[in-house]
Amino acid sequence: MLRILLIDDTPKKLGRLRSALVEAGFEVIGESGLDIDLPDRVEALRPDVVLIDTDSPGRDVMEQVVLVSRDQPRPIVMFTDDDNPAAMRQAIKAGVSAYIVEGIQAQRLKPILDVAMARFESDQALRAQLQARDQQLAERKRIEMAKGMLMKMKGCNEEEAYTLMRRQAMSRQQKLVQVAEQIIAMNDLLGQ
């Protein structure tokens, strides 16, 4: 049976993943919470599979583990399924990355990844991306409009108007379009 080490270093809780894997009949040999201890944990526990959140800061520590183990009898590699790249993409989207002892076959790992993927929160990034697409054109028009208003109000040229807007945006940790909206609102209020 494949022996699994879980890495638990992000706010996404892996607690239930452990029990889900155990219930599905897999052997979870440990968890690691502190990234700095990862190399020692891997060395001591000798897992066949390390499961980690794709967005975990500990990923870079695992990168070191991979390089250090290159010449050892049981080298650890990042799991990439050459026969089924779509499955890999799905796993990354779901937020799961797996490191395995080289030579473990994809079909042995698949049921483990399936359980892990079901337990991870779904990725919100895609939704945000779709929203951005709709905003794009509107944003440019609003910035242009605000710039025109500011040029008129301040009697300045285009570059000066941009600079004024950017200074304001950066000092408030805002996007340029947010400052543009404020200028437009103020302009409406003043009835110009």
Partner: protein, 401 residues
């Protein structure tokens, strides 16, 4: 090549609807919580991309590995990347080999090596004292960097070796995510680290450590972060890639234009959405003002910079070669790569020349630049294979120690 300089501000919509229009108008851009992500953050949020028909959607990443995987899988279109990592990915060090592209340099200088307050108390505040200390029995020190094939690993190795400390034999090195460095230093789990800012400045501010060396003291105006993507992306979306370079070039020029813009940028990136560190830890070094935690304060002659009148951004082939020579030197590359061919494949100098030329930014006379490093050695990109073998301390398996 483009025929004439474009004037995007004169009529932005002409650019958007022309045949050079970006094939992909919305780009997902990855960055790490580091001050040298500033030009991407400014480009995306301060209206520098819209004139080129682009919207840049920023995505903060938590590891360089995750960032790389998302680039490869297409969830990110382009990202802030570590120079060395680009070539490790291109050449398949520790992972599958994927063709990569460096679109432009994002920054030079501004990283540093920090040692613990405990070592300071023990009088280990100079390279010589550090060498003495590591030679003492039972004093094996643990030094952290951020990614095994990244710039910080290579700066740390280079600096240690230039002071006669073998980075793989005389000390223990490990990888720690940069945001965790100060905490581990404070807790005594590591004795020092090499990372980007604001983490070195934060260690000094919190009394956890002191700055032993800046990376600009290793190599004044050294290459650091790059704007990277897969080679497949550039092939598929050449107009998009060029528009992206133009937007980031304009943002870089804006940041370096004056102190006021720099201050504004420091304030912007301090936001929890971006770097998420106190402005007091970000701003001084962002403006070139250093304090090392040993009582020295100075205005650095080679601080972090993003544009430098266009000197920062060309994808110099000699810079690419240098990182490959160091990956080779420390045994991360098992054999000599085809140095020149790899540099020519990865470095998008033709595309950069189009973008910079259209903005009237001075192009380098050559993509080979001559640099004198802090130890007095000269690097001009000639004979990379010989250069990689020319160091007294190394980890080349096939060369005599």
């Amino acid at each position: 090549m483009s025929e004439s300089p474009r004037q995007p501000h004169a009529d932005p919509l002409a650019w958007v609807s022309g045949s050079d229009a970006p094939e992909k108008p919305t780009l997902d851009i990855g960055f790490m919580a580091l001050t040298d992500a500033a030009s991407l953050i400014v480009a995306a949020t301060q209206g520098f991309a819209q004139p080129y028909g682009l919207t840049l959607s920023l995505h903060r990443q938590h590891s360089w590995s995750g960032l790389r995987d998302r680039l490869i899988e297409g969830q990110l279109d382009a990202a802030q990347c570590l120079y060395g990592q680009m070539f490790a990915t291109e050449l398949g060090v520790g992972a599958q080999s994927v063709g990569m592209a460096v679109l432009m340099g994002l920054s030079q200088n501004g990283q540093g090596i920090t040692l613990s307050a405990r070592l300071r108390a023990a009088g280990v505040t100079t390279p010589e004292a550090l060498r003495e200390h590591v030679r003492r029995e039972g004093a094996r020190l643990t030094l952290a960097q951020t990614f095994p094939t990244g710039t910080h690993a290579l700066w740390l190795n280079y600096w240690l070796a230039s002071h006669d400390i073998h980075p793989l034999q005389d000390v223990r090195t490990l990888v720690i995510p940069p945001a965790q460095m100060v905490e581990h230093l404070q807790a005594g789990r590591i004795d020092g680290f090499c990372a980007g800012e604001p983490w070195g400045a934060l260690a000094v501010a919190e009394g956890a450590g002191f700055t032993l060396a800046t990376t600009q003291s290793i190599w004044p105006d050294h290459p650091e972060k790059v704007l990277g993507c897969t080679h497949a992306f550039v092939e598929r979306y050449p107009n998009t890639a060029r528009a992206l370079v133009m937007a980031v070039l304009e943002a870089s020029r804006f940041i370096d234009a004056n102190a006021e813009n720099r201050q504004g940028t420091a304030r912007l990136i301090a936001s929890p959405e971006y770097v998420g560190a106190p402005l007091s830890a970000i701003e001084p070094r962002f403006l070139g003002r250093y304090e090392d935690g040993l009582g020295h304060a100075w205005l650095d002659a080679h601080p972090l910079r993003f544009f430098g009148e266009g000197q920062v951004n060309p994808p110099y082939h000699s810079d690419a070669l240098w990182f490959m020579t160091q990956l080779r030197r420390w045994g991360l590359l098992r054999e000599d790569p085809d140095y020149l061919a790899v540099a020519a494949h990865v470095q998008q100098s033709a595309l950069y020349a189009e973008a910079a030329g259209a903005l009237g930014i001075l192009l380098p006379g050559s993509y080979y630049r001559r640099a004198t490093l802090g130890d007095g050695s000269v690097w001009d990109g000639s004979d990379p294979a010989g250069y990689a073998r020319g160091f007294r301390l190394h980890a080349l398996a096939d060369a005599p120690l």
